[in-house]
Symmetry: C2
Subunit: 205 residues, 2 copies
């Protein structure tokens, strides 16, 4: 059981993967970095979620780095223990299998998006996902609070900070969202969905 403050690292990519982790409270991100400092966010983790468990499924070292976004309390389970649980309790093993399957499908969706969708649409999708995951209702709409939100949105959707800022400004002007500091409020979710999906039902009668 451990505590971390905003910006602190829980473990680094390539560290020996000794434990599986469970986030009890707070929020953190799982990232990969390039040597030149460019960062890609693989997942955002909320309270209740498991992370950094790759040691439990065959990785010798952590494949990514974990960084706390605010005050985070973490429970750590040694991988030997994890393996023992999976070997003895079929229900646990099946739960792990389902969890991994889900994450794999999500990852493959993201690959597809990065490969064929344009930036604006990827940002829209990222916003909607975030709304689902960490959004909360206010009288103005669904509010997403995220430190360094532009930067993080960029790293989640595969764009640059500048582009995200530009796109959000435009949407703000159109009244789809309210772009605030370390905050985005979705005012008209439906129109965002249109941008995110927009199956151009071409008239091929």
């Amino acid at each position: 059981m451990q505590q971390f403050g905003p910006g602190e690292f829980l473990f680094f990519e390539n560290d020996v993967a000794t434990d599986a982790h469970f986030l009890l409270s707070g929020q953190l991100k799982i990232v990969r970095e390039t040597e030149d400092g460019q960062e890609v966010i693989l997942r955002l983790i909320r309270a209740g979620e498991m992370f950094g468990g790759a040691g439990g499924w065959g990785a010798a070292t952590y494949p990514a780095t974990a960084v706390a976004l605010d005050q985070a309390r973490v429970f750590r389970l040694p991988v030997q223990e994890f393996a023992r649980l999976a070997g003895h309790y079929p229900q646990f093993a099946l739960a792990v299998i389902e969890e991994l399957g889900l994450r794999l499908r999500e990852a493959e969706s993201r690959i597809r998006e990065l490969q064929v969708e344009r930036v604006e649409r990827r940002i829209a999708r990222t916003l909607l996902r975030l709304a689902n995951k960490i959004g909360h209702k206010t009288d103005r709409g669904i509010q997403i609070d995220l430190p360094q939100s532009r930067q993080h949105l960029a790293e989640l959707s595969g764009a640059t900070l500048s582009t995200v800022s530009r796109v959000l400004s435009e949407w703000d002007r159109q009244g789809l969202i309210l772009a605030g500091r370390e905050r985005v409020t979705i005012v008209r979710p439906h129109e965002l969905v249109v941008i995110a999906e927009d199956t151009v039902e071409s008239d091929l009668g």
Copy 2:
């Protein structure tokens, strides 16, 4: 147990996921398509590999489409059976967990690449991966045989057919590879690795 010829579909995205599959011989691809026909290859499958098993880890429908690239023999295992195996034989469950973990790590690497690497480097990486997976040694180098190779390379690396063709032509001119019809032979793997990795060891001493 079933047989398929080149271009035939084994199952489609969104079909009810009734079976897990094992490829006994031949080669096939797992793809996602957009409504406008753009295709993304998620995996290439060789003899001995498992695929289309998402039903076994919580998906109601197949999350992608499977297409045979040549003559393919396939063994199908009903998902109920799959779940029974995983529930009764811890070794099987653990093997599935490791397999999923591996694929998840691979998928996340690809996300990182798509997000931060330029096309040329992605193509180099894709070639090297393919060399590992389906390459075979000849007197000229490591040869990769793949129908519609430029198109497939494009869909694997997140580029267009034209761009792949251009890049391969250039590498051919430089003598790194031999670009042939439905075939690429890697002549100087090391130089490809340099392009793929190229950690600009900047002189910060």
